[in-house]
Each structure stands twice: as C-alpha cells, then as structure tokens.
Point group: C2
Chain length 330, copies 2
Amino acid sequence: MATVLDVARRAGVSSATVSRVLSGHGNVGAETRERVLQAVRDLDFQPNRFAQGLRRGRGNTVALLVGDIEQSVYSALTKHLQVALGEIGLDLMLYNLDHSAERLRTILEAAPAMGLRGVALASTDVIPMATVGPLLRALQQRAITVIAIGQRLHRAGIPSIVHEERAAGRRAVAYLVEQGRAPVAYVGRIAGSAVGSERYRGYCAALAAAGLALRPELVSDVSYRFAAGYEGTSRVLAAAPDVRGVQAGSDELALGAMAAIRDHGLRVPEDVAVVGFGNIDWGAHVRPALTTLSVHPATVAHAVAALLRDGAGGPLLQVIARTLVLRGSA
Amino acid sequence: MATVLDVARRAGVSSATVSRVLSGHGNVGAETRERVLQAVRDLDFQPNRFAQGLRRGRGNTVALLVGDIEQSVYSALTKHLQVALGEIGLDLMLYNLDHSAERLRTILEAAPAMGLRGVALASTDVIPMATVGPLLRALQQRAITVIAIGQRLHRAGIPSIVHEERAAGRRAVAYLVEQGRAPVAYVGRIAGSAVGSERYRGYCAALAAAGLALRPELVSDVSYRFAAGYEGTSRVLAAAPDVRGVQAGSDELALGAMAAIRDHGLRVPEDVAVVGFGNIDWGAHVRPALTTLSVHPATVAHAVAALLRDGAGGPLLQVIARTLVLRGSA
DNA sequence: CTGAAAGCGCTTACAG
DNA sequence: CTGAAAGCGCTTACAG
C-alpha cells in the first residue's frame, strides 16, 4: 500500500505538500499540485484511515443506532442514509438496538473511543435520559455530532428529525370517522414507545373533535409486530363487537389486525376498515392494499447528512409531514 | 480521554506493560496486572481505535455488503451478524449494494485502505468475477478475511456460506405436484441472480422427475420485488389459464403472485396454490399464510463469526439445509 | 517480568 | 509556496 511518503518521493515534493493537495487546506502551486495528483493516480494512493483518524482526532464514520433493522422504517432509513452519507464521504456503522435500553447504553459508552464523526439515534422507544443523557452530552463535548431520529430530544439540546405523529394519527382517525367507521379502535399504543403514545394522542384528539367517547375496551396496548396486532385486535373484537374501524400503531400491527378481522369471520374493509402507520413496502401488495400514513426516509437521510456536514448550528427540530395514503383497506 | 500513558503513570509501570495486560500477549506479574487493571478502571480507559489500528495494521471492523437491506433476507442476516460479531468484539460496517455491480466494485476498491478485518459479501446477484475477482484476491492478500454469503465462490478460493437452493426448489415443486397442483408455474427466475437460476433448476428437476413437460409460458423472468411477482403471475395466468400452482422465487414475489391471482378472480389456495422462498417475517400473518422455504440467518451469522475468529483454514463451503414450512397458501 | 525506544502513516504548526 | 520535524496513541521487537 502506497503511503504519502511514496507519493511525495514520486512527485519530488515533501509529504506535507501531498497532504495539503489531498486535503485542500493550504495553498499549493498549480504545477506542483498536478505532479502530486499524477503520483497519487500512478500509485493508486489511498490515505490510511487509521493514521488520518489518529492525527485528526476523528474519522469518517457515523454510527446509526436503530431500534430493529428488521422493521421497515429502520431498514429504509438505513438504505437512504447510506447513500446520503456516501455522497459526503462518510461511512455508516450499524448498531441494532433490538429495542434494548441496556444495549443503547453499552454502545454509547464505547462510542467516544471509536473516533466517530457522528451518532444517529433512530429509536422510538422511550429513552431513559437520566442515564443516557450524560452519555450523549459526553459525545457532543468531543465534537461528535449527535442526532435523534424519530424522537424529539431537542429539549436536551440534541437536534431531532421526526415525522409528525399526533397530527397524522388525528387525521387518519378523523378520516375513519368521516367514512362512518366509528366506533374506531386503536391497536398498538405500544407501551414504552415515545412515538406510539403520540399517535395515540392523535386518536384521542380525533375522537374528541368528533364528539365521540373514548372507550377503554377499544384501545389495545401491544408491542410492535404482527402477532401483537393480531392478538390486540382479537381482544378488541371480542370486547367490542360493534367496532367498525381500526387505527393501528404501525403497518405491521395493521397486517396482524387484518388477519384477526378475517379470522373473526369479518371482511376488510366492508365490515371493519383498517389504517396503518408507516407505508411499509408490502402494504400496496397485500389484499386489500393497506391505507396508511406515509414515511419519508430520504428526507430524513438528507437532513441527517446536512447536520453532519454543517456541524452544530443547524435547526434543533425538523418535523416532516405525513400524507394519508388511501388504498383498499379503509 | 485517558491514554495508555495515563494508565501507566497511575499504575506506576510503563506503557508497554499496560499494553501487555490489555492485549493478553506477554507475561505480566499477577500483582502488576492487578494494579494496571485497577488504573484502567479508575480512568475508564478505552484504547484509541485509530492508534491501535495504525499500529496493528488493521482494525476491528467487518464490512457487510448486502444486496438490498430492505429485503428481509438481508436485514435478518444483518441483525444476527451484528450480534455474532459483537460477541467477538467486532463492529459491523454496512454497505448497501442496491444490486449494483458498479457499487460493489467501488466499495471493494476503497476497502484495502480502510483497515478492515473482514469483508462479508452477501449478494445473490451474479458477480462479474473478471473484474471483482482480483479485488477480492487483493483483500485476501492483505489478510482481510473475505466471505461469500448466499453465493458459491469457493472455487475462487473464497469461503462460502449458502443455503441449499436447487434441492429446496425441487422439494417444494415436488410437493406442489404431489398435491395435484400441476401445471406448476415458476415466477421469478430473476435474470442476473445466481441463486434464482439455481432455484429454477430445482423446478426443472422436479418437473422432470414427475414426467411433466417444461412449458415456457409457465416460466416468468422478473426482478426481485412485489410488483414483479404481480406482473409475472398476471402474464402467466393470461398465457396458461390451466395453471394450478405457483412456485415463486422469493416471498416478496409470492405475495405479488397471491395478489395477482386474487385480482384475477381466483382463490388461493383453492384455485391456485402458492409457495414462496425465504420465510419472510410477515409470511405467517398474511391470509392465507404463506407456505415457504425456511432461511437460517443465525446459523449463517455464527458461521461467518467463526471464520473471522479462526482466520483462514476453515471450510470453503458450508451449505445450510432448508425446510418446507407448510402454511395456508399451499 | 519489565522498560526504553522505535515506528505505524498521517497532518499541521512553524520556519523560511 | 514549500519543507523539516513533531506528534497523535498505540504495540512490539529488543535489551536487560
């Protein structure tokens, strides 16, 4: 592997000059610069990342911490972030939290020594800021850009990029009510999810605006995935046979809900309409196709990249609007 | 951030001794070791990754290159590999290939300078070995462990971990035939997929064994995702109205196929049975639930970790068996 | 068993 | 505009 010294020798200059040409810092004569670049090409020189990192005090890697890479929100985000970071020369290190606060802490504790450029925390789980807050602040103090995705941590001084949750939930439930789908159940408040409770508040707001009562038996607290949607909906159907609409806390939950409704001998949407959350890729391909609220991973990815590129001083809170995507299920 | 020198001073030893204690190489007196470990704890010392990497010539990072992180096979693999690598102290860098050979080449060209410990190439696309082969060999020559996942590159000297494809495809199609589902269509040979054509050969073998003719109008070449399954199946249904079974090249394609069958006014499985490939997470939750062939990401992940841990000398080819997972669709 | 010293490959004040 | 030199924080032969 060629070193900066090899390049310097071949170009007849010092290693300092090579470094200046490559970094763009400091002035170098046009002809000298050309000679250096030619030598770089000849030797196929690529700077050693460790040496660079050691000297500069940090590297080109951003850690992305996701709740669960198998969930579509996170894999879509990962994909787009990978592209957006690639465009500004940054690499992506992936950490799967598996919704574990313990794992989050472990990772954040190891982060300072890793020379990261930034940490993007994409988790909708409630974060125990008492223990995690100091860790995040420690990262910021070493000039590591910390960004929250999907959760509002801007009050703790962490730039946050989120989708609208409450307003979106309210809009979707209002739509169900307008379509004559009351009583509407809410499946998937998701205990422990910061986002889940926001969506649920949207549900409550929509009911209140329509003058409908909040019936506890119509609300199901479940966890994230399919089976939870199935079980939660089954329970609601048993407790409230008059339910005509279901707002699910996620598309996965919505799919489970649809299965439960059908296994209950009812039809979607004729008997019970279903709305999901998150516009998952297969949502358009199940039958009936899923009506849901959009998500915008590319927009998030670009916002993250911009924050990393420009350093501190960016907006502390960016809220991305969602659209109600109408398909067959509601 | 504490350095090894800080630790040395606090423990009253030299930095060499600290390094020896931490690495486990070289003998250190029991009492000295204790003093060093205490100092490490006191100062919360974590070795600087760049300095370590520069000195050792490589780091603790493994690059995982996946075809498309949004496909369930890859996200499940990523999740399990993350855990398996974590257990042996390695980090995971993720690169999304987006099924682009061009991108693969770009990434592999940048890899040597990154001080990677290993490169795990999880792609089922046909790899242009004329250009990519030399890049992989260059990595191996710098003692970077290269591992192929999902595709057999063992003849090129690259340890490969794969699932059985042909035998599994044959078994599934034979099952459809046994159940009286002939003629069986094959949707998703997937031009450009090394794995897709293996699965298709299993289909051919099953037909031959059953004495059935290979009817070209029953075979659809499509790309990976849902929409392709929908279109491919629509075409097959139009060209061969007598079709009674569909073997899909993936679960995504199977879901598209089920939608197409239903939009055609037919029922799954009564009129047309469908078998997928890959046991995707939502497969059990659609209705009818998807019959499919299993996949074993945890097994793959452990095999990869073992190869990284033990370095060269491991098995060149590991084949993981698949099970036919019977559910409602066939 | 332990330490002094060199060196991995960069970058950046400093000097000219 | 350019170069000589120091130094980032480790690890490892080498010497004792």
